[in-house]
């Protein structure tokens, strides 16, 4: 079970994440994007999902990553991500509810390059019961 006390709390990612050109190139290649001067609009999920995994699976929160299904996703992109961005990441658990035996957690990810907020995204993650 997910700890209900985690709702409303913001958890900081432990390490900074540096975006490299080869990461952008690889992501762009999969979707047939040839302009790699900026990252494709969904690129930041690469950062957010791994942050979610390390943050949300901590025992004090208790998400079982092996039973996870992605329900929905939203991005608000304040400027495109480019190679050389160094992000600090945070995950805020906005809501938690239980429906049909599944735990449904809504998480917000904020990616900051220094003081600049570059991308905010929201993910609904469903932990199947």
């Amino acid at each position: 079970m997910i700890n209900p006390d985690s709702v409303g709390r913001t958890f900081k990612g432990v390490e900074e994440v540096t975006v490299t050109q080869s990461q952008i190139d690889a992501f762009a290649a999969v979707i047939g994007e040839t302009d790699t001067s900026v990252a494709p609009p969904t690129f930041s999920i690469r950062i957010s999902l791994s942050q979610y995994e390390s943050i949300l699976t901590q025992p004090e929160i208790g998400v079982d990553w092996t039973r996870l299904v992605h329900g929905d996703q939203k991005f608000e992109i304040f400027r495109p991500i480019v190679a050389g961005d160094v992000f600090t990441c945070s995950a805020t658990i906005e809501t938690l509810r239980v429906a049909a035996g599944n735990e449904i957690v809504s998480v917000r990810s904020d990616l900051h390059n220094g003081a600049e907020l570059v991308v905010t995204s929201w993910s609904t993650l469903v932990v199947r019961g």
Partner: protein, 139 residues
């Protein structure tokens, strides 16, 4: 519909040209490596069946990334996409040795200056796979 400088005016209700992407197991592997999402339900058929799935399924975020490519192409580049959202309502099923379609189309729902809102429809094998898929672009 009028022509301005050779370009079609963008109007509410206008439907953009459809585009078909193809997804196969090799693309799932490439996306797993590019995104870091190595969940075996997207690569290992035996594992996918063992957890009750009909077959290997695409990453929802690969489906969304391809729909994002559709939006980006129309918007004139990734830098022009400001908001993008979708629900993963049905899996894209990817049997071994097959290329399955992801058919994407969009309709203009709002125009405010150079900001355009789109409703996106994405289907695979005739089944709608994204719900409430929307984008805001500047054009």
């Amino acid at each position: 519909m009028v022509n301005v400088g050779g370009a079609r005016m963008i109007e509410v209700g206008m439907t953009l040209p459809e585009k078909i992407f193809y997804i196969d197991r090799a693309l799932l592997k490439a996306y797993a490596d590019a995104s870091g999402d190595q969940n075996p339900i997207h690569q290992n058929e035996e594992f996918a069946l063992s957890v009750g799935l009909p077959n290997v399924i695409s990453h929802g975020m690969l489906t969304m990334a391809l729909a994002g490519k559709y939006v980006t192409e129309w918007a004139g580049g990734s830098a022009n996409v400001r908001e993008f959202s979708a629900r993963f309502i049905k899996p894209v099923i990817v049997p071994a040795g097959e290329k399955v379609d992801l058919t994407v189309v969009a309709t203009v729902t709002e125009v405010d200056g150079n900001t355009v809102k789109l409703d996106i429809t994405a289907t695979s094998a005739g089944v709608k796979v994204l719900g409430m898929a929307k984008a805001v672009v500047v054009k």
